[in-house]
C-alpha cells in the first residue's frame, strides 16, 4: 500500500466511501519519508518568489490557447487579473503573471458524452505522458526549470458523473475528465502547497479541457535555515491542529500505526492523514507577497465527533520546519507557534434580526 493510500485510509474514520487521488509512487515515498526524515536535509535555503508581468505571460501563452486563425480579445478584468477570451474559451492571468488558468468550455461541454467506466479512463502513465507532452509543446516558455530543479508528477484525479431516476435506478458512475498535478523539486526537495504546481485536465479522448499553473522563479536569498527533526515537526502539527480544534494533546505519536495502514493518532480525536515536508509555497493567491519561501511541512488532518449525526472536520495547513521561522503575515501556523493568534480581521456577523 502506498503512503497516500495509507493516509487516506483515514476514510475509516467515517467517510469510508471516499475514493481519493492516486498518488505517484515518488510522491508517496516522499510523504512516507517525511514522517521519519522531516525536511530530509540538514540545511534549507530561504528563497524569494519572483514573477514578471501579466502582459508577458499573456503574450507567451497566446500561441498555445489561440493558435492559427483564432481570434481573441484581451480584457483587463481588474487590478489583479487579465483575461484573453475567445469563442468558448478564456485565459486568466493573475498578479505578477506566475498564476494562469485556461479553460476550454467547448471541450467541457463534450466531456459528459465521453464518460467511461473508471477502468477505461486514462491511466496514471498515460496522463503523465500527455501532460509532459502538452507542457513541452505549449507551456515551455512559462514552465521553466532552473539549475537543480525538476518537474515531477505528483497525483491524478478524476471528475465523475452519475445520476438516478425517479424509479430508483442509479446509473453507474462515469469518469468524464482526468486531471494530473505536477510539482517542482529543488535539488530533490519538493515544493509543498499550491505554489509550483502545473495542473492539466484531459477528456477521455486526450483533448485538453483546461490547465492551471502557479509557477514562479525561485531565487536564493543567501540565507539558510536548519530544519527540525521529524519528530519535532510532527509535534508541531499536533500542537497547531490541537489549537485549532481547541484541545491540545501531549500524547506521544506512534509512527507504527502509519506503517500498518492507519492514520496517525495525534490525540484529542485528531487523525493525521498526510504529512509532507519541503519548501512551502502557499501559492500566489494565498501568500504574503513580501514573505520568503521557507522550509515547511504540509498536513491534512481530521477530527470526528460521533453520535447519532456524526460530523467530520478537515484541517489543512503547513507548519514551518525551521526552529525560528521568518515572519509571514499570511501563514497562520507561524503565528500559532509563536503563541500569537492569527490575524483576525473578520468576526461573527451577528444573528438574524428576527427569528
Amino acid at each position: 500500500m502506498n503512503s497516500k493510500t495509507m493516509f487516506f485510509a483515514a476514510g475509516l474514520l467515517g467517510s469510508a466511501a471516499a475514493v481519493h487521488a492516486a498518488g505517484f509512487q515518488r510522491a508517496d515515498e516522499r510523504a512516507l519519508a517525511s514522517l521519519t526524515q522531516g525536511f530530509g536535509s540538514t540545511q534549507a535555503q530561504v528563497l524569494q518568489r519572483m514573477g514578471g508581468t501579466r502582459d508577458e505571460a499573456v503574450a507567451a501563452l497566446r500561441p498555445a490557447v489561440c493558435p492559427g486563425h483564432c481570434t481573441a480579445a484581451q480584457r483587463e478584468m481588474d487590478a489583479q487579473r487579465s483575461r484573453l477570451q475567445g469563442n468558448g474559451w478564456h485565459l486568466d492571468v493573475f498578479g505578477d503573471g506566475t498564476l494562469a488558468e485556461f479553460a476550454d468550455d467547448r471541450q467541457h461541454e463534450r466531456a459528459h458524452a465521453q464518460g467511461v467506466d473508471a477502468a477505461q479512463a486514462m491511466s496514471q502513465q498515460a496522463l503523465e505522458t500527455a501532460g509532459r507532452a502538452y507542457i513541452a509543446r505549449s507551456l515551455a516558455s512559462v514552465i521553466t526549470l532552473g539549475p537543480g530543479e525538476a518537474l515531477v508528477a505528483e497525483a491524478t484525479y478524476s471528475r465523475v458523473d452519475g445520476g438516478s431516476d425517479a424509479a430508483g435506478h442509479v446509473d453507474a458512475p462515469k469518469t468524464t475528465a482526468n486531471r494530473i498535478v505536477f510539482t517542482r523539486e529543488l535539488d530533490g526537495v519538493p515544493v509543498v502547497g499550491n505554489g509550483s504546481k502545473v495542473i492539466l485536465t484531459f477528456l477521455n479522448d486526450g483533448s485538453l479541457e483546461s490547465f492551471r499553473y502557479d509557477w514562479p522563479r525561485y531565487v536564493a536569498t543567501g540565507r539558510t535555515q536548519a530544519p527540525l527533526a521529524a519528530s519535532t515537526l510532527l509535534q508541531r502539527v499536533q500542537r497547531v491542529v490541537g489549537a485549532r480544534v481547541g484541545a491540545v494533546s501531549a500524547q506521544s505519536i506512534d509512527l507504527a500505526s502509519a506503517a500498518s495502514g492507519s492514520p496517525l493518532d495525534l490525540g484529542a480525536g485528531i487523525a493525521l492523514q498526510r504529512f509532507e515536508c519541503g519548501y512551502y509555497d502557499a501559492g500566489l493567491l494565498s501568500r504574503d507577497a513580501s514573505a520568503p519561501v521557507q522550509a515547511g511541512c504540509a498536513y491534512h488532518a481530521l477530527h470526528t465527533i460521533g453520535g447519532e449525526l456524526p460530523t467530520t472536520a478537515g484541517y489543512s495547513g503547513a507548519v514551518p520546519a525551521a526552529q525560528k521561522p521568518m515572519p509571514d503575515a499570511r501563514w497562520p501556523e507561524v503565528a500559532l507557534l509563536g503563541n500569537a493568534n492569527p490575524a483576525n480581521t473578520n468576526g461573527d456577523p451577528g444573528s438574524a434580526t428576527r427569528d
Partner: protein, 297 residues
C-alpha cells in the same frame, strides 16, 4: 470621475429594480413548473458589462445579474458541541464570499447560524430580516455537516440542533431559492442514496445545490472569493464550485447535484449560470424525473 461612478451606480440600482419587478410579475405555473421567460431576457440584457452602458474604461467591467444572495455561517458552537476549525477560517471564508459577491449582485444578508434551523427547514414568511434560505435566490452556508442514507444535515450554533434535508423544501416560498451552496463535509455524497437525501429539498423547485461529496478542508478561505468571481464571470455555477473548491485544496472533494425532467435535461441544466438562472424552468414534485451529479474524486 465621480459623476461617472454615480451614473454607474444609478444604472445598477435601476437594473436591480427592473429585475425584481420582473421576477415578481412574470412567474407562471404550468403543471408544477414555473417558467421565468421574460425575466431571462432582462437578466441577459443586464449581463452586458455596465462599462459598455456607461462608457467607462474597459478595465472596469462590472456584471449585474440581479441575483439576491444570502450568507449564513458558524465558526464556534454553543458549549463547544461542534469544534472550531481554527485560524478564523469560517469567518474569513464567509466574509470573502459575501463581500466579493456584493460587488456585482445583491447582498441580501450575512448572519451567523444562531437559531437558524427554521431558516432552512421552514417556509419564508418575513424576508431578509429572518435570513431564511427561501428569501434569496442563492444561499451560501459554512458549518459542519454530514449525512446518512436518508438525509444530509448541517450543524447549527445551538447545541444539538441540525437542519436536515429530510425536513427541507426549498424554492416554494418567499423569493423561491434556486441554489443552495454549503461549505460543509459529506453533505453531497454521490451514491445510491443521493435521491433519498435530496428529493424532498428539490421538490420545492430549487434548481441546484453544491457542497462536499466527502471532506472539505478548512485552511484556504480564498476559494470563496474565487467562487464568487467565477460565477460573476458567467461560468456555470456547478463548475465554479467544483473548480474553486478543488483548486484551493486538491484533497477537497466538491460535488454538484441538480435535477431535470430526464437525464438529458438534467445534464443540460447543470450548465446553469448567473446569466441563465432566472430562465431555467423550475421543476417541482412530480416534474422531477432525474437527479444528476458531478464531483472531483
Amino acid at each position: 470621475m465621480h459623476e461617472t461612478f454615480a451614473t454607474a451606480n444609478a444604472v445598477r440600482e435601476t437594473a436591480r429594480s427592473v429585475v425584481d419587478a420582473s421576477r415578481q410579475s412574470l412567474r407562471m405555473t404550468e403543471e408544477g413548473m414555473n417558467v421565468r421567460k421574460d425575466v431571462a431576457a432582462v437578466a441577459i440584457a443586464l449581463a452586458l458589462p455596465l462599462s459598455v452602458m456607461t462608457l467607462e474604461p474597459a478595465q472596469a467591467q462590472v456584471y449585474q445579474h440581479g441575483v439576491q444572495v444570502g450568507t449564513r455561517c458558524q465558526q464556534d458552537y454553543q458549549n463547544g458541541w461542534q469544534v472550531d476549525v481554527g485560524n478564523n477560517d469560517v469567518w474569513n471564508r464567509c466574509w470573502n464570499f459575501q463581500n466579493t459577491i456584493a460587488g456585482t449582485e445583491t447582498r441580501a444578508f450575512y448572519y451567523n447560524l444562531h437559531g437558524a434551523e427554521a431558516a432552512l427547514e421552514q417556509a419564508d414568511g418575513c424576508g431578509w430580516a429572518c435570513g431564511y434560505a427561501d428569501s434569496v435566490d442563492f444561499f451560501y452556508m459554512n458549518t459542519h455537516g454530514g449525512s446518512n442514507t436518508s438525509a444530509s444535515y448541517w450543524a447549527m450554533w445551538d447545541q444539538g440542533a441540525n437542519a436536515a434535508t429530510s425536513r427541507m423544501r426549498l424554492g416554494a416560498s418567499g423569493r423561491e431559492n434556486m441554489v443552495l451552496a454549503t461549505f460543509a463535509c459529506s453533505t453531497h455524497g454521490t451514491d445510491a442514496y443521493t435521491w433519498n437525501r435530496w428529493y424532498r429539498v428539490f421538490a420545492g423547485g430549487m434548481v441546484e445545490t453544491v457542497g462536499g461529496r466527502s471532506t472539505l478542508y478548512a485552511g484556504n478561505d480564498q476559494s470563496a472569493t474565487e467562487l464568487a468571481n467565477r460565477m460573476d464571470n458567467g461560468e456555470a455555477i456547478g463548475q465554479s464550485w467544483l473548480e474553486s473548491t478543488w483548486y484551493a485544496d486538491n484533497s477537497n472533494s466538491p460535488a454538484v447535484i441538480n435535477t431535470g425532467r430526464n437525464s438529458t435535461d438534467c445534464w443540460n441544466r447543470q450548465g446553469v449560470n448567473f446569466n441563465t438562472l432566472f430562465s431555467t424552468p423550475v421543476l417541482r414534485d412530480g416534474a422531477i424525473g432525474y437527479m444528476c451529479w458531478s464531483s472531483w474524486n
